[in-house]
Chain length 200, copies 2
DNA sequence: GTCTATAGATTGATAGAC
DNA sequence: GTCTATCAATCTATAGAC
């Protein structure tokens, strides 16, 4: 139809209504949850009208899918990549740094509830299997990156790098959850340091 | 008021309506989530009337608190205690056994979504801080029990038993989450074996 | 792309009798 | 302790105009 026109670029521009909606939803779905956050809240926070919301998204679940993509991008750009891709830094320190950054994100004052992807997958996997697979894929890629790092040096632990990387992802996700339960980001830092000691 | 009478014993009896409601809710809150499960579903599953439900529970959140208690009892009785309290078994094997039992619980065919306490705390912590503290307390006790086990022998790892126990709980919770995300209970088994290797 | 107004459905909780 | 009937609120989504 000729009524819908695409913007010239989806790249760098001032935030569109759609982007504002996704940003507001990302924060609320993380702190309060998907089901517990009415569309109304996101509308009020952004000043976008209800009907405009449904112009951009077919339904609330489509918004959730966009939120998942946003969290993957954010988490990867701000936490994972800066620590793992640090050239010239020993593997153990890179790992500890990853946990340090994750801990910073986890401040309770900001209402953080562990890993945002973990929270979303729990609420969305049942009604939208594609979301589960998407998040599984991201965790896989994270594991692979860590494995590649560990594989570069002599492994004095015996088990192969893949297994250790698998364990590292477990520790990260578990520590993020426990830091929420105990309201203490130090949990993530301590887990990261100990893990780095064990594998490096 | 003289209209409410307490049962003679709350211990061993055939399941009361209240117990049936909690059992049905525990399963559904775990597989579908708290917010996504209407009271109606629990009523239909148990055959209990709506009004009888509100005779037993002030509201849905009170039901959730009862569900949390039930999961703590179940998990502790069926998974944690049998493995950790096994006399004459080496510490490493007790830990691996704990993960083995947790993995069995995690069969995807049953719709398992990781640790039931983790799922509940995410949805309930924001509106009911007491639930978060209760679950934090249970994780603390689990950590203490593991620490006591580890403390019994020479620790060749350097860090004290408390830290290692803290890490073990992280690994357990993280592995349970990832087993849901990847739909593979083997995740929990592998994490348990590797952890046992590292600390024992 | 955006707005106002409203439909349509679900759901948590209560009233009052037995 | 349990039942039927119903209220009142909340929430997702759509209709139709500009």
């Amino acid at each position: 139809m000729s009524t819908t026109r695409k913007p010239v670029s989806t790249g760098e521009r001032t935030a569109t209504n759609r982007e504002r909606l996704v940003a507001a939803a990302a924060e609320r779905f993380h702190t309060r949850g998907f089901e517990a956050t009415p569309v109304e809240d996101i509308l009020a926070a952004t000043g976008v009208s209800r009907s405009n919301f449904y112009y951009h998204f077919a339904d609330k679940r489509e918004l959730a899918r966009a939120v998942v993509e946003r969290w993957i991008e954010t988490y990867d750009r701000d936490i994972v990549t800066p620590s793992l891709a640090a050239e010239g830094v020993p593997v153990g320190r890179r790992l500890a740094d990853l946990f340090q950054r994750a801990a910073q994100f986890q401040e309770p004052a900001a209402g953080r509830t562990g890993c945002p992807l973990a929270r979303l997958v729990l609420e969305l996997a049942h009604q939208d299997p594609a979301v589960r697979r998407r998040i599984a894929g991201y965790f896989d890629s994270l594991q692979s990156r860590i494995a590649a790092l560990l594989g570069r040096r002599d492994n004095r632990l015996g088990p192969d790098a893949g297994r250790v990387a698998e364990l590292a992802v477990c520790v990260l996700e578990g520590a993020l959850l426990l830091s929420h339960v105990h309201q203490d980001p130090g949990h993530v830092r301590r887990a990261g340091k100990l893990l780095a000691t064990l594998v490096a």
